[in-house]
Symmetry: C2
Subunit: 385 residues, 2 copies
Amino acid sequence: MENFTLFNPTRIHFGRGQVAAIGSEIPADSRVLLLAGGGSIRKNGVYDQVLKALGGRTRFEFFGVEANPDFDTLMKAVEVVRRERIDWILAVGGGSVLDGAKFVAAAVDYAGDPWEILVTRAAKLTSALPVGAVLTLPGTGSEANGAAVISRRSIREKLAFISPLVFPKFSILDPETTFTLPERQISNGVADAFTHVIEQYLTYPANAAIQDRFAESVMLVLAHEGPKSVKHPTDYDSRANVVWATTWALQGVIGAGVPQDWASHAIGHELTALHGIDHARTLAVVVPSLLDVQRSSKREKLLQYGRRVWGIRTGSESDCVTAAIEKTRQFYESLGLRTHLSDYDVKPDVGAEIAARFRARGVLKIGERGDITPEVVERILRQAA
Amino acid sequence: MENFTLFNPTRIHFGRGQVAAIGSEIPADSRVLLLAGGGSIRKNGVYDQVLKALGGRTRFEFFGVEANPDFDTLMKAVEVVRRERIDWILAVGGGSVLDGAKFVAAAVDYAGDPWEILVTRAAKLTSALPVGAVLTLPGTGSEANGAAVISRRSIREKLAFISPLVFPKFSILDPETTFTLPERQISNGVADAFTHVIEQYLTYPANAAIQDRFAESVMLVLAHEGPKSVKHPTDYDSRANVVWATTWALQGVIGAGVPQDWASHAIGHELTALHGIDHARTLAVVVPSLLDVQRSSKREKLLQYGRRVWGIRTGSESDCVTAAIEKTRQFYESLGLRTHLSDYDVKPDVGAEIAARFRARGVLKIGERGDITPEVVERILRQAA
């Protein structure tokens, strides 16, 4: 096990009716910005619950944070926060709204162009407004970590930042608030979370038994409960297990003291930036192909994964690796996420384009061993045709 | 899954050389009380590492916190803290020292007799000094929770309190600091942690898939790595896995949203109070017998436990339950912990005595279903003869 520091101060309120906990979390004299997406929360009752919990607090609203939240949109929210002297941000929505809230919280007092926060990965950040969250779409894990991914469509960029300053002070996870989600969104969330685990687990052995077992636990729960919850969206227990599993997929612990990959995310972000494909769907395309291209360097963990998560116990080692990768592809497909570029009308020469973008940015070695060069990126995308 | 709130703000520094992190955790102008046990830290180099990390900070020392830390001893430390206007407590030791530090931190500003903190389980606590910890003996989980168990030998009592105010601000877990532990102490720690999981897991099903899988993960790691680490105390990876598993056994997550038992601990505490038996060894006596007496009400979870933790897949349901209980007993014995009262020269009529103590205290129903009455306690201890 490698040395690590683990810190996660977010207070989680989990279960039916927990939106009311806002009342005890946000001070009564706060000036609160309610940040949200397209307005579905007005239809499913969540907005009313939030208003009731906020009671007499001074409230401002900013709706319209889009999927893959955009820098330009969020800077308008920053203006509102500055103008209205807002001191608490309450994100109500999915990972995009939560990521957007973290960025707004960090940008408000940032001295300089806030885009720098993303370019430097928040290295120079010294303060942020407190953020609370009501999670209505599970998947990204943003409800219990200090990370955010922000897009800037005007220059076709999508970058992430991480800072302990932007952990939500609290997050409310009421599975019932997710019952009315479109099937596509819950499928995407399950696939995204499953891939978060893959990025932190399918690397090379590091003698980290708890991290491995917890990672496998999250994958087992998503594999068993994910498709079931997509099919039966109002089955409370199943949805509760899915929501809680997605949180643990990117909460810190399974990645502490172990090597991490994240090449699939890096490549997937490019597909979203260039072709507007849903984040989770880019991962469904990249992961099976990347695992196959990297099957030698990931061999030991692929075998452990196949055995412990998918119950593969027969065949040669090579057969087991192939079967584990195939099970992964089938899992994405079972959720309704197609796994080839052609399914999204993207030509295989996107590989050369993305490789060129990595080179231009100086990103020459990704993956847990730093052996995924722009050439390998191109190969992965060619195999994903 | 039941509703829950989960909060754990302790920052963990894990790995070789992490004692140095004290330097960035405790403010330079602090007045620090170093709280410790019998002095083994002077022999194994930990004391020197701590002194180096503390640098020029004003330091006071209080050695002599005993196993099952005693109220009267700790009140002497409280006097030192008050007299010297100490504002940080640094616990260096095992769970007893950490529990003691939490009590001292809570007692210093308590208005009234600090024993009340234990009697009311800290309900009236409003503040506590910050506590940091260097854990040199894994097992109790005190390094990452807000709980403490304090004894008062003068009145033969042992009580616990829980408060979010006494979570350590930081805990340092360097597996190397545990290499010189006597075999008995590391065995006790593994058994104690394993039992913490049993208390939160071997109850009845609550459709809490992540909690179940994580609990099984901790037990699997302790079952595989525990006896190995006892035999090979300087195997870093094995010890690191044991240390990290013991933390997760009582850190909050596996018990969130699920029923909990804790009857074995309640009964075990009485055996320690009356006969001075090591805490972990009282659990090794009580647990196998309690599981057998409660085998009907715990049937479903005992079957899942047998299957997933011990790989029991054949035989009737009743056989599987019996085998799972037997595996549990063997696990304690494999660590060198004897599992019968007679092994500790305690007569079976201790059951009647402990049942009477519960009755006198008004403790008439314990266990996850409240069906362990004083009569059942007596039966459990009779079976443990």
